[in-house]
Amino acid sequence: MIPILQYTGLPFGGAWVLATVIEILLIMLPVMLAVAIVIYVDRKIWAAMALRRGPNVVGPFGVLQSFADAVKVFLQETIIPAAANKALFLIAPIITFTVAMLAWAVMPFAKGVVLADINVGLLYILAVSSLGVYGVVIAGWASNSKYPFFSAMRAAAQMISYEVSIGFILVCVVLWAGSFNVGAIVEAQRGFGFGVINGFWCSPLLFPVWVMFLISSLAETQRAPFDLTEAESELVAGYQTEYSSMAFALYWLGEYANVLLMCALNATLFWGGYLPPLNFPVFYLVPGLIWLIAKILFGFFLFSWIKATVPRYRYDQLMRLGWKIFLPLSLGFVVVISGYLMATGHFA
């Protein structure tokens, strides 16, 4: 894009800035639109599993429901509690939303099509997702109210716990791919299973790791069955109890953007990203972006399915799962996988 802009007479610096801004918008706007649609999809799937109709009034089959909700929320008054810490109270939802958008910068949408092709891409995603906890914690503290505060405590403990095992899971993938660059990780999955299957999931050593990643990503995004931070029977609405209007909507959007990000990460790290599922030439006729979107949506369907069917965990069970089961298991898999790769001469 830079050469095109330079052709119009811009200097390189200006063209670079303008091109980057356009590319950011090209990623952000579709992601936000996808979030709106995915909220509708989530409600429809959830309704179908509960034998209900779900949203069906606004637009054909209710597809415009999310937009109607957005307009409703936008027209509401923003209420800031008198005892709240005003600046932090307003900054918190912005942090959550921004962080959910930031990580998309290193996501490859097709071969070489990525905003920032940095060689520590996966570490960048880990770093950005570790920032997500601040949105929740600050909201809980700044609200100056009991339930949000409890919720923030839970969120902080939960997200740190599962980030540890996610870190080790990512190490397993990085060991096999030999790179932190997300694009290189996708390319390492080309023809991974017997030259036919594209994707790390088909290896017997990486399949259990993938299962752990799926469960950890549920906990990391605070989705059911790990949605203890907004357990309505215990904590009213959790950290967003005091929020209203657009601040509340930003949490909503940020939460779903995070879920989409985790689905995208799952698709990229284990299901072969923009590669077709099978390594046959005929499948490459379909653009990589379509494959990636299909994989993200399938991952999202798994998330919705779990949300509709699995009851909520108890908090001590959640902590036990994170620290006593996933941490030793994922650490064990790092040792086993690096041992296997060493023995088979993968690093030579």
């Binding site: 932090l88 960048y124 770093a127 570790s130 906890v133 601040y134 505060f149 740190i160 870190g167 069970q317």
Partner: protein, 205 residues
């Protein structure tokens, strides 16, 4: 131009938030300013080409250490007037500490600018070639040349962790723990009884 702009942005925000960390009245604000300072330090490291260290700084300090800081500080019930009461009494000590620190910094800068301190490359060190990413370069150094130091540092951290757990762990006699495997293995027929009591007679449980 863009790099210079980014440098002054990161450096400026870092200095400001560092200062605000000290002057902020509210300890929670203080921690948040500290986090902003960490974040901008990571930005500066990216500018110098140390992207691996920058990401580690964000993951370890911002993502874990500072969250725990915030966790503790948020739960404190602080009386601000009591905190400010001892200010005059402690001020001389603070000034003394500041003077000592300033003196040391000043001395360091004077010695460095006089050329008596070689801060560049050690005699045997070589610059990493541009083709090697700095993640790979750091890994290669840590696991070959500095293997012993690296393992020793890990061992010290492990000992420190075990020590901290031993010091704070308190075994209570009346603890009733849960055995998850035992709970999962329970079946309805082991836990419930189905009785048809005769009219007028009770049930012994």
């Amino acid at each position: 131009m863009i790099a210079a702009f980014a440098f002054y942005l990161f450096a400026g925000v870092m200095m400001t938030s560092g200062l605000l960390t000290i002057v902020a009245r509210n300890p929670v604000h203080s921690v948040l300013w500290l986090i902003l300072a960490f974040f901008n330090a990571a930005g500066l490291m990216v500018l110098t080409g140390a992207e691996f260290i920058a990401m580690l700084l964000v993951i370890v300090y911002v993502g874990a250490v500072a969250v725990l800081f915030l966790f503790v500080v948020m739960m404190l019930d602080i009386d601000f007037s009591a905190m400010r009461a001892g200010f005059i009494r402690n001020a001389p000590l603070g000034v003394l500490l500041a003077l000592v620190l300033f003196g040391e910094l000043f001395l360091g800068i004077v010695v460095h600018s006089a050329g008596n301190l070689a801060l560049g490359h050690a005699a045997s060190a070589s610059v990493t070639p541009a083709t090697v990413s700095n993640t790979a370069a750091i890994g290669a150094l840590l696991y070959t040349r500095y293997l012993f130091e690296f393992e020793a540092a890990g061992m010290i951290l492990l000992v420190a962790m075990i020590g901290a757990i031993m010091l704070t762990h308190r075994e209570r006699g009346d603890k009733r723990g849960q055995n998850a495997a035992h709970q999962i293995a329970r079946r309805p027929q082991d836990a419930t009884v189905n009785v048809q009591p005769e009219v007028g007679k009770g049930v012994s449980l």
